[in-house]
């Protein structure tokens, strides 16, 4: 499996709007086993996105999906920057959706 743990900073006051865009239309991503968008409780403009994919190719392919391209276009102006992007090799756990 291929995993990503990323911290994204929204433009001031835009976190809710950005999160809503990230959460929309993510159900149709082949190879996506887990994808969670979360507010950082200690940092009012920060979001954490934790992802588990079947493999890196599935993640790369998802970036070409029309829904994802649309989300990227809509979200980009609301993003102030990316902080810490960790690549992981998930081993297992609870809540890994059947592919």
């Amino acid at each position: 499996m291929y995993g990503l743990i990323g911290k994204m900073r929204a433009q001031p006051g835009k976190r809710d709007e950005l999160a809503a865009i990230l959460l929309k239309g993510m159900d149709a991503m082949p190879g996506c086993l887990s994808y969670v968008v979360a507010n950082d409780t200690a940092d009012t403009d920060a979001l954490w996105i934790t992802e588990v994919w079947r493999d890196e190719a599935s993640h790369r392919a998802s970036l070409q999906l029309p829904e994802v391209q649309a989300a990227i276009a809509a979200g980009r102006p609301l993003i102030a920057g990316f902080e810490s992007q960790i690549v992981t090799a998930p081993l297992g756990g609870v809540g890994l959706q059947a592919d």
Copy 2:
């Protein structure tokens, strides 16, 4: 929802053993919506544990479960330390197991 993103450092060479302990017997945790154990691909002794719980009380209660207590006891000697523990408020996503 209540989330945790934590980086744990295993004693040198003990990551696989520690991960196996963390992955064992985690199915019976009430209120656990997601729990993923992952290797850090850039740091050979580091594990990332990403968790989503129904609420903070569910997480706290899980620490008292006999299986979890046993895992903590078995894992403790293999842990060199904890690095970055982020508390999040998950908003939604894919792979959040029904409670």
